[in-house]
């Protein structure tokens, strides 16, 4: 199918591309909706461009991004690799805003879509956006209610921002996932709850143009021969797995615990379940990725289950306090 008239893209950079970037966790489906957007652009709108993703050793739950460059057909597409200067940025996990410094490289007057329960003004401050438009959407809730996935409402907003035909998007969703078409269309339609706000340039935050990263901390002067790491100096100990949790997590109720130790041996991220002096002390949320295997094996006692699956958003203070971690230190001290 070809359109009658040439489709006009809402943004264009020096090479003639409209740059769209999706930031997500592995497993969120950013790759899939990126490909769908590209397919609509090529098949339905007779555009050209490029779809590239961040590839590496990334597993489910680790930050990843997807780049879509769109341009008029006839412009030779010669680029490769991910893009760093988006016009349209979709942030599927708001916890990635700060660690990934997502304001760096954003084009002036960019459009930013964020999956969040916060409002555009709050997100603007978190993102330190110089100017542009922020669209906030609780995609997690929309997806849960529709029994769909968070990528679908985000896809809906991208279609809207790019001005792509709504019908083509719906058809693409139905054709791609025929079995869950109804749920996906419900999630797709859920974007009516999105909040839009424009932020003209007011000097509050500066544009931070992309500059080629200077590499990591360790360079050729300091890398040990063979890339050897000193375990004590280069430990993953200082990291946190918090960003890998996708909304749900186990919560520990010591009153119901019979210290049966089943959770300890069912945990896929050893270090999460803290045992000291033969007793279950709780969950170290720096380790826990929220798979909830421990909840699955936790026995039902007369006081209920000691481990239950909860929404992380409802227990943010428990995660922040992360009391169980302190028992590890006590154990070490003793």
């Amino acid at each position: 199918m070809k359109t009658e008239e040439e489709f006009d893209l809402c943004y264009e950079d020096e090479l003639g591309y409209c740059n769209v970037k999706l930031v997500a966790l592995g497993g969120d489906g950013a790759n899939t909706i990126g490909k769908l957007l590209f397919k609509i652009a090529v098949d339905k709108l007779d555009l050209d461009g490029a779809f590239d993703a961040q590839y590496g050793s990334e597993k489910k739950g680790t930050p990843t991004d997807v780049s879509i460059r769109l341009c008029k057909l006839g412009r030779p597409v010669r680029t490769s690799g991910t893009l760093s200067t988006p016009h349209i940025l979709a942030i599927m996990r708001e916890q990635l805003i700060e660690p990934m410094r997502l304001n760096v490289g954003l084009q002036p007057k960019a459009t930013v879509i964020v999956n969040t329960t916060e409002n555009p003004a709050a997100i603007r401050d978190r993102l330190q956006l110089a100017d542009g438009k922020i669209i906030c959407l609780d995609a997690t809730r929309i997806a849960a209610e529709a029994r769909s996935r968070i990528n679908i409402p985000v896809f809906g907003l991208l279609i809207q921002v790019l001005g792509f035909p709504d019908q083509a998007a719906r058809e693409m969703l139905s054709a791609t996932w025929p079995k869950v078409s109804e749920a996906n269309l419900k999630a797709y339609e859920g974007i009516t709850s999105a909040q839009f706000q424009d932020f003209p340039y007011d000097g509050k935050y500066k544009h931070l143009p992309y500059s080629k990263p200077q590499g990591g901390v360790i360079g050729y002067l300091t890398q040990r021969p063979g890339g050897v790491l000193i375990n004590a100096l280069n430990s993953s100990y200082g990291k946190t797995h918090g960003a890998s949790r996708t909304g749900q997590m186990p919560l520990f109720n010591p009153d119901a615990c019979i210290h049966c130790v089943k959770c300890y041996y069912a945990c896929s991220d050893p270090g999460s379940i803290v045992f000291a002096n033969g007793k279950m002390m709780g969950i170290d949320y720096d380790y826990c990725k929220g798979c909830n295997r421990c909840v699955m094996v936790c026995p039902d006692t007369k006081n209920g289950k000691a481990l239950t699956k909860v929404l992380e958003a409802d227990y943010a203070e428990v995660v922040l306090a992360n009391e169980a971690a302190s028992y590890k230190n006590i154990r070490k001290a003793s």
Binding site: D52, G215, N231, K239, R293
Partner: protein, 753 residues
């Protein structure tokens, strides 16, 4: 001059738009050509080529033999066999996959077997890195293979079609090389022929050659040769010369059907005879075209030269293209360490000298390990060349894109306190805990046994570290770890961080067991000479994939009875490379290379029984463990350690959950694991000096369940087997599970079996 004449062909042959990456383009070409056999072993980033073909074979759309092999060497040797028998064969690989095939590459060219090998270029490890550069490609320059290059997704498709015709005409094998990820995975709009017959007509019938399957005229292949070998090689040299003459003809014929005209050397901006030019290959050459436009727009004149082939070397066309150049930037995506310059620069230098071209050559090594090369980078390299051309001091050779690092800043763990090493290395903890396993002991272990591993980036719900932790809970004293490449490896030591608190080494793919042999054998020698006195328990960790490709090395270590524990975490699938078939998977299982369709129902053969394979090594301790029976697992880990302390080899196989590749929820792992044990698909047993003991007998407890109880649990890997039309596959699976279980029961009953 070599290029520029892009003529539009009068009679357009119908083509259709396709969207995808270079791997899809290669698969489209393979399907269109009508190959008869593909040997396959997965390696990122080339795996999708085989996955796509295997899916089409399963759906009945492509009629060819698809053989998932146990290694890259096996895969290409399967290709060699098929081709000797007369088949049109194709393969795909990357990086060390190519190096593992290396043994067979000169055999194939020396035996004059035509075939095509797609190479999604990737850096050669170590350090392990899955991304792009040309260090794999450049290592095969002298192997007697034709080498075509593809800068873009479209070119991957086109060059694949050209490659087979060319290879068959001159009876030589041909590599089609395109950049891993940049080209293999970046989705682009490209064109394919609407009708496969166009492609098949273009390639034509197989030219006659000597074939193995010819019982009327039996022939001998692979004869041993002494002095005559030099003549074989001279023929190879002549065949390369023929190939050099033939390629332009094939390119021209291909232009007629496709409308896309290729030449051996491609140029941009060279028609203005610029004094400064750059020679660069593949995706980076493509990106550099944007740079040429930009620099031209700023009023300066530069040119770009790239190549469509590396072997044979297009000397005349290059000499022609570079004839007016004063300063030439040669950008190499690989370093020929210790050579005068890197690969391309040396070859170009020799050419220019022979053609009396006095151009100055600058050589830059760029883009190693996948560092992206954008048009900005091309502009920077041009700037360097322009400066040199203006007489400024610019180094002849350098790297581009590397960085110094800050000598002041090396500790990475703050703001938290320095990481603990290991809290305790009490070598008698197990002794103190006593021989009995119960909840109390398990709790004490959970509290007292040190954690040897810190945070990892494994998927939520992954079984790898769960199993490792469970096994390590049975092992006291000083632990040392050796990993094969795999999920557990890649998620635990992403530079510059490490998850390990104990000595740890990763060695490639399948070499862990031999690496461990070297370590423990030397440690024994040190002990013998009184130079060390500390106890050490070395544990090798490998997935089920490294137990396929590394089967021989594992068996070797077991037979040598080298004192270490080998732990295989088995999730029935090649999880790290993208869910391809593993030999440990059950019959009927769906994977990325054993699809379900009208022509195939998942995996076509029963699971590899690694325990029974190792039984034949008569290793002193062989056991299976599962998280559902963690007390049993911890006990077996203790026994394995005891075996090692007594100087023997121990093998532990753990069932491991993989939510990512089965498409299951992370929290469902415990149920899948228990069901695997209770269906006897993963029986719990130990073989101690040949005596088999079933450590859990669900049948005796009235808990043995049919395999149909497992089928709904393993997500997309098994869900299709619920369909009534696959009842025969399930029945076959049940029969095989029961056959093996019955034998195990008999062995359990009798110490002499």
């Amino acid at each position: 001059m070599s290029e520029k004449a892009y003529s539009v062909i009068d009679r357009a042959i119908e083509q259709k738009v396709c969207i995808g990456g270079g791997n899809l383009a290669a698969a489209e070409a393979i399907a269109a050509i009508g190959y008869e056999l593909e040997g396959f072993y997965p390696i990122t980033p080339s795996s999708d080529v085989g996955e796509e073909i295997s899916a089409r074979v399963a759906r009945g759309e492509v009629d060819m033999v698809f053989v998932p092999a146990t290694s890259e060497l096996a895969a290409i040797s399967i290709c060699a066999g098929g081709a000797m028998a007369g088949a049109r064969v194709v393969d795909a690989t990357s990086a060390q996959g190519l190096l593992l095939k290396m043994e067979e590459l000169p055999a194939i060219s020396g035996l004059r077997i035509p075939m095509v090998l797609n190479l999604a270029t990737r850096t050669v490890s170590a350090p392990l890195n899955i991304k792009n550069d040309h260090s794999d490609l450049m290592s095969i320059l002298g192997m007697g293979w034709l080498i075509l290059l593809a800068k873009s997704v479209q070119e991957v498709y086109d060059m694949n079609i050209v490659a087979l015709k060319w290879a068959e005409q001159v009876q030589l094998p041909c590599v089609v090389a395109y950049d891993g990820f940049h080209t293999s995975h970046g989705a682009r709009r490209f064109q394919i022929f609407a009708d496969n017959r166009i492609v098949r007509d273009f390639i034509g019938p197989k030219p006659p050659r000597d074939l193995y399957i010819d019982f009327d005229h039996p022939k001998t292949f692979g004869a041993y040769m002494n002095d005559d070998l030099i003549n074989n090689k001279y023929q190879l040299h002549l065949a390369m010369q023929d190939a050099y003459r033939l390629l332009p003809v094939i390119f021209q014929e291909y232009a007629k059907i496709s409308g896309r005209r290729y030449s051996m050397v491609g140029t941009v901006g060279m028609e203005d005879h610029p004094p400064v030019a750059m020679l660069i290959l593949n995706s980076a050459a493509h990106a550099s075209e944007d740079a040429v436009d930009r620099i031209k727009a700023s009023g300066r004149s530069v040119g770009l030269v790239s190549m469509s082939l590396l072997r044979p070397f297009p000397a005349d066309e290059l000499a022609d293209a570079l004839s007016g150049v004063r300063t030439l930037m040669v950008a190499d995506r690989a370093d020929e360490y210790g050579a005068y310059r890197s690969y391309l620069a040396n070859e170009i230098g020799a050419l220019l000298q022979a053609r009396h071209n006095p151009a100055r050559i600058l050589n830059r090594v760029y883009g190693l390990g996948g560092l992206n090369f954008s048009f900005h980078d091309a502009v920077e390299l041009y700037d360097q060349a322009l400066s040199a051309d203006q007489g400024e001091a610019v180094a002849d050779f350098d790297y581009y894109g590397h960085w110094e690092g800050d000598p002041e800043q090396q500790i990475l763990t703050p703001p938290k306190a320095p990481a603990p090493i290991v809290e305790k290395t009490d070598i008698s903890l197990n002794e103190k805990l006593g021989a009995r396993m119960n909840v109390s002991v398990m709790k004490t272990i959970a509290s007292e046994m040190p954690n040897r591993i810190d945070k990892t980036s494994a998927c939520p719900g992954c079984g790898a570290f769960l199993n490792l932790e469970m096994v390590l809970k049975g092992i006291d004293g000083q632990v040392a770890l050796v990993y094969n490449t795999g999920c557990a490896e890649i998620t635990s030591s992403g530079f510059p961080f490490t998850s390990f608190k104990v000595p740890y080494a990763h060695n490639l793919f399948h070499n862990g067991s031999s690496t461990a042999s070297g370590i423990v054998a030397y440690y024994e020698w040190l002990k013998k000479h009184g130079r060390v006195d500390r106890d050490m328990t070395l544990l090798v960790v490998g997935g089920d994939g490294s137990g396929d490709i590394g089967m021989d090395q594992l068996i070797g270590a077991a037979i040598r009875n080298h004192p270490f524990i080998y732990l295989e975490y088995d999730n029935n699938i090649y999880a790290n490379t993208g869910a391809q078939l593993c030999y440990t998977g059950f019959k009927g299982m769906m994977t990325a290379t054993s699809r379900v369709g009208k022509a195939q129902v998942g995996k076509t053969f029963h699971s590899k029984d690694m325990v029974e394979i190792l039984r034949g090594t008569h290793a002193p301790y062989i056991a299976t463990v599962c998280e559902s029976h963690y007390e049993d697992a911890v006990m077996k880990a203790r026994e394995a350690q005891e075996t090692v302390r007594n100087g023997g080899f121990a093998f532990l196989k753990a069932f491991s959950t993989c939510p990512l590749n089965w498409g299951t929820k992370g929290e469902d792992g415990p149920i899948v694991a228990r069901t695997m044990v209770e269906t006897c698909m993963f029986p719990l047993l130990k073989i101690v000096h040949g005596i088999t003991t079933l450590t859990y007998n669900p049948e005796a407890l009235g808990k043995k369940r049919p395999v149909t109880d497992m089928v709904p649990l393993m997500g997309v890997a098994s869900a299709h087997l619920l369909k009534p039309e696959y009842a025969d596959v399930v029945a076959d699976l049940q029969q095989e599970v029961d056959r093996r279980w019955t034998r195990l029961k008999a062995m359990h009953e009798s110490p002499v079996l």
